[in-house]
Symmetry: C2
Subunit: 376 residues, 2 copies
Amino acid sequence: MSRVAVHGVGTSHFGRRPDRDLVGLAHDAVREALADAAVDAVDAVWVGTVFGPPGVAQRTLRALGITGVPVITVENACASGTTAFAEAHEAVRTGRYGRVLALGIEQMSTTFSGAITPEPTDPEQRSGLALPTLYAMSAARYLHLGAVTPAQLAAVSVKNHAHALHNPRAQYAGSYTVDEVLGSTMISDPLTLLQCCPTSDGAAAAVLAPASGGDREVVVRGVALRSGAPWNETSPHVWGYDIVRDTAADALAAAGLDTVVDVDVVEVHDAFTIGEIVTTEALGLVAEGEGGKVAEAGVTALGGRHPVNPSGGLLSRGHPLGATGLAQVAEIVWQLRGEAGGRQVGSARIGLVETMGGGVSVLDGNACVVAVLEGP
Amino acid sequence: MSRVAVHGVGTSHFGRRPDRDLVGLAHDAVREALADAAVDAVDAVWVGTVFGPPGVAQRTLRALGITGVPVITVENACASGTTAFAEAHEAVRTGRYGRVLALGIEQMSTTFSGAITPEPTDPEQRSGLALPTLYAMSAARYLHLGAVTPAQLAAVSVKNHAHALHNPRAQYAGSYTVDEVLGSTMISDPLTLLQCCPTSDGAAAAVLAPASGGDREVVVRGVALRSGAPWNETSPHVWGYDIVRDTAADALAAAGLDTVVDVDVVEVHDAFTIGEIVTTEALGLVAEGEGGKVAEAGVTALGGRHPVNPSGGLLSRGHPLGATGLAQVAEIVWQLRGEAGGRQVGSARIGLVETMGGGVSVLDGNACVVAVLEGP
């Protein structure tokens, strides 16, 4: 079994890019990742996408000149990109392939006019439980329990949009106030527009190979994948909490870490503001019911004790589903190499990536991947 | 590393089942596979599907009561089912999971009215190169070279439809004559309707776990997967030949076999009659240019020296894309356990499965999986 490292990462600019097809977006990500790893070929490719049509992976890779190597496309809801990362990691770890490309691609702007539409045959579609609504239910519960305030929810949006001011690849950066966030268009009460991730196009990639001690290598200390777990309505926690907690525990154990507080920087799945709050609690980064308070107090901001989503997160960088997980990996790699520019978390040595989704039919089974990375 | 065995298999009835959803089809396959393996739970699931919508795997499995275990959906064109099988095999081989379900599902009848429609942005779509046309070009070339006759092409259809008379789960069985096959509706010259696989719905499953010497276990001697290889137009062979030859060589080497003639029974990807002919040659089962002659002479029929597609193959059992590869695995498992009833190949000890596809955009990259299995 090999110790695996990320040797290179790359992403496209994220945004609404109806003018640009997946080949163009993938080109930006893959070329950068290969150049970053200083290689020009790989032995296999795992591609994560949710709404990409059949054959899109091979079609895209052929256009990039990557042919004659195994290509496996995976779908695992919003965790598709990190599922590709987990599979690539496993293939290198076990020696199945020597050097593997993990690629995430998604073009949402030409697929949906607004939010993702659930499958028409799903109970969620019939009951109006689109994704913003599902997260809104969690937010409403937190509000009801006094575990969060509207201003604390908004603070997450303010923070992540401000972080993204230092991320030239983010879709929507901005200096907002809490009042501006709360005053933006109501999408699903209590979540306003600036508390919801946008519709995005993008691609992100990572090159994985055995660790060789190179001074730009970021070692994968542990990866865990869970899925197929429908919401347990008897849980004391809101949707998503339990699977994130359990997957993180698996990943930390694989990494040989006793606690998540040893982690210096994290990128988590903030598809909606409440998502980041719930996730920081589920990860154990902050105490249960404290996620909103710490966001408001700046603990999870750049410069705080537990910086969360220095990239701007899904809320601000954007959320092209299949690409998101690998964009999170790219951000953590840049952070651990000290290359994150104005959003650099000083002396970050250990980073964590968390992606959680639930398929289009959000209640039919969550999917979560957590990875723990260590800098050179 | 563990030696891996197939402990149980199951399939739905294949056919046009617009009245039945994927959950119902998967139910038939999974329940049978679990009962066959005498287990009621698995540690992880890989699901192969091409046109299944995002989340379909978890949605389907939840309805079957399979939750709380990792589910990874893979797409690899017509080889999606055997890709799920290959990934499940790898997971057991490396000890990643103890017992894994590989499931293939596809519902074509509600997606397409006739043949698969290539993506509208593909050059294939623009030039009319739908899948029947692509195979027709290979057939035309074989005819031009004198490597096959129209009657030999038809003989494959006659044989496979006759085999399926003994397969109660096949979509279309029948006793046809060569003249009837040649006289059926022309689809893409020279391929007539009875030389083309039908539009099908279905599911198929296999349970994999370490081999323990059980008297119903079928050992996986070797699996190989190739993809990402666009058609090399400078090859002396027709489309698909090279990747099948190379993938089979990988699988035979992994199985420790010097030659494919040690294999007693094979299930190959006969999406069209010419496909079976080209594949038997590419596998090395018959000499190049002899595929049609041997089919006509009965060599590849039940009772012949090299029985091919005793199940009826894609032509007759049907071809629900993601399910096909695992239906092939199921057939070989039944054959190697001596449970194939009226279509049993006497004393079959070693079997081979081959699936080959090329995505919807057929020229953008082939995908091929070959597995070599050995009976108890």
